[in-house]
Amino acid sequence: MSLEFEKDVADIEAKIEEFKAKNPEPTGTLVKDLNHLELELAEKLKETYANLTPWQTVQVARHPNRPLIRDFIAGLCSEFIELHGDRLFGDDHGMIGGFAMIDDHRVMVIGHQKGRDLDEKIKCNFGQACPEGYRKALRLMKLAEKFHIPVVTFIDTPGAFPGRDAEERGQAEAIARNLLEMAALKTPVIALVTGEGGSGGAIGIGVGDVVLMLSNAVYSVISPEGCASILWRDGTKAGEAANALKITAKSLLQLKIIDEIIPEPVGGAHRNYVATMKATRKTLLKHLSSLKKVTPKKLTLRRFEKFAAMGRFK
């Protein structure tokens, strides 16, 4: 599925499909022709993705084929033992977690689940977690702390679920509690924004010693559409709002909100899962190794100082 701004790319991809259909086993000059088309595609992709606007980046971050948490788990972890429930109310499908092995590191993986097909998406509330999701995340984080294993969170959510029941079960309190407990957690935390970092819903599992973003991910206090409808009084001005809010990985690095950008393959993560996982694994392993060397006391102090510095300008 191609995005609106990928029209030129889509045209070339269509040409290649057509060519391959006509010539399933090309020989001689046909091979040269195919190579030429594929080169053209690579160039066009590179050109298109080198200059994405913030609003275009949002489209990539929300791409229907973008890797989701279970893809990251499959691509990064040799083992995943899912854990369920918050022990208080229920099991939120919008937030999953469990023990995982990343190379030889035992970790606790936690993250939003958006769901792939429509049925799954509905079951997962499109990745909009409820209080029981944040409380499950907290339970698992405290477990990781007890077992002295690092926490790795995968953030990809349009926001915390704005439902009546969610509100009544304390959506605000659940997020707030996580913020406080994560700040004090005596085990390393790596937070990675893989897709949409939707405001409070995202930061609710985002208080990390290290905060990473995939290069086409976005992270914002409000969705561009939401901002546009309030400050531009026009929901269609989302593009302008996206520009103003500085929501791209590059902006967030400049603002010192995140620590590192994980480069996506040209054309976006959805085009090449293998390359995406390779780059992600490399970065995670680097930080897992270095964070494990820090004492728990120093970790929490550094984490406090890291967040204390946000919003300080000289």
């Binding site: 915390a160 679920f161 704005p162 439902g163 009546r164 969610a166 509100e167 009544e168 079960r169 304390g170 959506q171 605000a172 309190e173 997020i175 707030a176 509690r177 913020l179 406080l180 407990e181 994560m182 700040a183 004090a184 405001s199 409070g200 930061i203 609710g204 985002g206 208080v207 992270y219 914002s220 206090v221 409000i222 901002c227 309030i230 400050l231 531009w232 009084r233 026009d234 001005k237 709002a241 103003a244 809010l245 500085k246 929501i247 967030l252 603002l255 909100i257 929490t300 984490r303 406090f304 967040f307 204390a308 946000m310 919003g311 300080r312 300008f313």
Partner: protein
């Protein structure tokens, strides 16, 4: 009240000089009240108990012993990390207007003071400044007041009044949520009490951070306290919500607020709680 005398029916806003307005109209039940009575009752309607919003100075007068308030970090002001501008113009202009209007530099005033002799660290949000929105200056002041409490072994009280995180400072505003909570984690580590007072409104990024991690949660009657906006929720679930949804009373019923305290009893209640917390 004289049947044949003409009375002035002007609703005066809390901050306007109202030299000639001797009557106030309760914003809730519309009853006419002498302004003098209104002020004496701490801007609470004596008919329906509606609690009008207070500015920070009024809150200081309400909660602290006279002449004990010492402001902390008065110079910390708003920032413009995104160089933000929307359809109405630059954020910098809007912020400057709010400074002019309120005499404040940010949406919170912090300091120390005494409650019946007990010294406390205090943060008071003021809705007049950009809807009490949480932004970088706000978060910094709240953090520094918490650290002051840790240093001087004081209990900490935060009075919340906010529409949530300030969009104009973007992701930097969002990060004030973990920032303030990290400061409260330090306070907890030091075993110091933290009382969260929720006033109308306490919403969004503020309710989803410091407001909801108090040792004790006190709310003013009928204060709006919630995470998402009512309209957003109704649009999501395609249902109408009950009238008392997201009121302080509703939150008590659903388990998130310890008590609702009438403004006139607030100072005394704080004192009692502080005594239970071992403060002297």
């Amino acid at each position: 009240m004289g049947w044949f005398t003409k009375t002035k029916k002007t609703a005066a806003k809390p901050d306007s000089p109202a030299k000639e307005e001797i009557w106030i109209q309760c914003p809730s039940c519309k009853a006419h009240i002498y302004k003098e009575e209104w002020d004496k009752n701490l801007k609470v309607c004596d008919r329906c108990h509606f609690h009008e919003r207070l500015n920070w100075q009024e809150r200081v007068n309400l909660l602290l012993d006279e002449n004990t308030f010492d402001e902390l970090n008065p110079k910390i002001s708003w920032n413009d990390p995104l160089k933000f501008s929307d359809s109405k113009g630059p954020y910098a202009e809007k912020a400057a207007e709010n400074c002019e209007k309120t005499g404040m530099k940010e949406s919170v005033v912090t300091g120390s003071g005494k409650i019946k002799g007990i010294k406390v660290a205090l943060a008071i949000m003021d809705f007049r400044f950009m809807g009490g929105s949480l932004a970088s200056g706000t978060g910094e002041k709240i953090l520094l007041a918490a650290m002051y409490a840790v240093k001087h072994k004081l209990p900490y009280i935060i009075v919340s009044a906010s529409g949530g995180a300030r969009m104009h400072e973007g992701i930097v505003s969002l990060m004030q949520m973990p920032k303030t909570c990290a400061a409260l984690a330090q306070l907890r580590e030091a075993n110091l009490p933290y009382i969260s007072i929720m006033t109308d409104p306490t919403t969004g990024g503020v309710s989803a951070s410091y407001a909801m991690v108090g040792d004790i949660h006190i709310a003013e009657p009928r204060a709006l306290i919630g995470f998402a906006g009512r309209r957003v929720i109704e649009e999501t679930i395609k249902q109408k919500l009950p009238e008392d949804f997201q009121t302080a009373e509703y939150l008590v019923d659903h388990g998130f607020v310890d008590m609702i305290v009438h403004r006139k009893d607030m100072k005394e209640m704080l004192y009692k709680i502080l005594k239970y917390a071992g403060c002297r």
